[in-house]
Symmetry: C2
Subunit: 509 residues, 2 copies
Amino acid sequence: MSITQFIHRGKHMYGERTAFVYGQRTTSYNELHERVSRSAAILQQLDSSEDARIGLLTAASDLAITLFFASSWAGMVPNYLNIRWSEHELAGSIDDFRCRILVVDDLFLDLGLALQRRCDCIEHLIYIGERENLPSSVLKYDSLYASAEAIEDDSVDIDGLAYINYTGGTTGKGKGVMISHRSHFAALNTIAAEGFVTAGDTLMALPLFHISGIAVSNSALMLGNTLHILPAFDPVQVMQVVQERQIVQALLIPTMLQMLVNHPQFEEFDLSSLRHIRYGASPIDQALLAQVQRKLPWADLMQVYGQTECVPATFLHHRDHGEAGVASGRTRSAGTPCLGVEIIIRDEDGKPLPRGEIGEITMRSSFVMEGYLNMPEQTATALRDGWVYTGDAGYMSEDDFLYVVDRIKDMIISGGENIYSAEVENAIAQHEAVVQCAVVGLSDEKWGEKVHAEVVLNPGASLSDSELTEFCRKYLATYKVPKSFCFVEAIPLTAVGKVDKVTIRQLRD
Amino acid sequence: MSITQFIHRGKHMYGERTAFVYGQRTTSYNELHERVSRSAAILQQLDSSEDARIGLLTAASDLAITLFFASSWAGMVPNYLNIRWSEHELAGSIDDFRCRILVVDDLFLDLGLALQRRCDCIEHLIYIGERENLPSSVLKYDSLYASAEAIEDDSVDIDGLAYINYTGGTTGKGKGVMISHRSHFAALNTIAAEGFVTAGDTLMALPLFHISGIAVSNSALMLGNTLHILPAFDPVQVMQVVQERQIVQALLIPTMLQMLVNHPQFEEFDLSSLRHIRYGASPIDQALLAQVQRKLPWADLMQVYGQTECVPATFLHHRDHGEAGVASGRTRSAGTPCLGVEIIIRDEDGKPLPRGEIGEITMRSSFVMEGYLNMPEQTATALRDGWVYTGDAGYMSEDDFLYVVDRIKDMIISGGENIYSAEVENAIAQHEAVVQCAVVGLSDEKWGEKVHAEVVLNPGASLSDSELTEFCRKYLATYKVPKSFCFVEAIPLTAVGKVDKVTIRQLRD
């Protein structure tokens, strides 16, 4: 029993209903079944080995998701490669993952060719675009598909791997998180049971290589929804699609939400169909939350927190986004443990800490990873007795709300004091002239590290270092107040839209 | 992480919302949290041993469910005893289960006292009713509760047992099915993800000792619904409650549905709030289905099939209950495998059979039992390599629909031919004068077994053996046509409302 069950169910339960809308192309659930079973034949013919793996280096598209499921159908393990990574980083994960087949689209054909030359494991490069006159080493998917005949589902056991997903490439060697079918089923059932995904047309404006993209695409197929796929996030395109196709639900990250509600054309679109906005990757800035609620009052909001290693971990439900939620501070939390998820905050020795005390967030559930591919030591560190050690620092309130304060490695130690950047960021964000901010520790001879803030101001607003310093003193102990500020146009983001603190530190250190 | 998570979540997510309505008594989610944490103190004080178990011999009630969760909270394993069983049968399961605490309500106080005398393991008898002047060996829950102080949740690991549930008592010694918290979470998440349960006021008119009762009560608490509990099924009371309290969803068994729609007072009630009717325990008779759809046209229907050992296993969704579903025969099926459930039909040697061929239904999922308590041999027979062998005979259609034809042991072997009673029953049920029928094999010198039918006719209708024989010949091979008929007022039912073939055979053999 693999997640190809969604493809079988799709055919007999949803039939002619549309599974994918991608540009002008639509695919029904019947067609998806045919596409997957025939594409699986292509893959199996190219690689019939027992440990066959397949790398997918493409923007989000109907075909990419089809090939993800075709991999399972063919008994292979798929991996959506991180399309924001450099050739060097990608080669590292491919050499680790040892895929014989690499799939690329128009955007990544050249990079795919370079990787084919560089990585000796790659035997076949499949191109899913429409270009003709390809180099001889490239197989064109359309041509292969034309002559492929459907094969029976040859997928693995429920305890076999559903996919591998690389994380952490920006802070060292990427780690290949291994997720079993059983685990993926459990995670998707939980997000459906909790109402994080529901029936209705779904927007997909996330990259597939991020766990949120996998969750959105696969849960849509599980529930028989129509998935409207955009190859990349573009605020105007998102608003157009929501309006035209009456999108009901979308998972966005706060940065995307900000780009939407602040867009000069925002008022031109009717977004009233969008009843469910889900966000993740980071808690929402309080000013942004207020703005979203003012501008999209019909939408219920729900936050997810988790890691590829164990996701979902917590949900902040819509009911906690209202006035009471803001007043109680719950909107600054990551919410409460999901159904079947246990969270314990631990000290450096792994001992559980009392509520209210900050320590490492650890979690256990039916959907933890199997481990990191080829990394027994890192696996032993991250996964102990069934518990995922997240590397995130946080605390649990008396009433079971989880507050994530920082990555443990992002914690600033200044003059021997632990400073959590989130706390400083929350203080700065209170200032009405501030749109966004990010706080990091920079090396300092005297203090070890000193607190530094990057700040984006409202258009037209101005603010001096000393004004902001004074403002911060109202909220923070002196040692937490930034020693330096940079007022910038925009804050650098990582591939998945999180604030890129590594880059900030490199720039300012 | 145990299912006490529902109690914690209930408090912080639903607070003052009503969890239970039972007669004139209502319990909010806040109150439920207090009730559970204080009741757990009572239980722990009476039995602090590590393998503490508790037997609950009560009709469905708010307090019974509260004590079920209090057991988990106190680190104990609860068991809703089968209230239809005889003292002898109950003593058998109690001696097997070895509970030191037995909880009884008004209906079962006398039986509880008898069991206390009979079973040496029972140390404490807790009475949850309101009677005064109790025998000295009885502890009154209300009195204990008045002085109990809440304790911290002391529940076990996610892989510990959530409950034990006895099955099969009518055909030999009852078997104690052991279900872990992890498994129960997975099952409830799946029924929510598939829409078998949803948000909204829920009717509970099922006994708690049946897995369906546990699923209905616990899923309601998981989703924050209000559960309206009736101590027993009574058609008029059900209709009253649905109308008065605007019940949205109810799980009923076909026999109950029949009693509802055929009730002379049916037209007197407004049941239009009842949008979701779920049924299980057996497929629905086609005439009854048509009647339900005509009389409750606003309700969507969904069937569940499974066993305590692995439930849910399949769902027949509402979409397959329409005209096309009837025409294609799907309404006679048990539906398609649930999300994450794999079903294989096997021959006597355990080898998978092709689609369309009848064999033993086996299933695998994340919610199979841990085994039978104290029965390693029966466990090894029923649970092999993670697969539950159901003892049900059935086949899988080309399009993934499961058809349950019989219990394997109910299969009739006549003159060397295998005859599935369901097939014969379906033929007889086609006759317009027939309301209900049941087919069994009776011992026969010549044939080994002969096919016998019990038939209930429409009021006023009459039918002779030879007329019905002739009618059956239109649908069945001669060897399958019953050799004898009994026209009866009603067909005997088991405790959970299934046709009681054991009793029929005893009566007629």
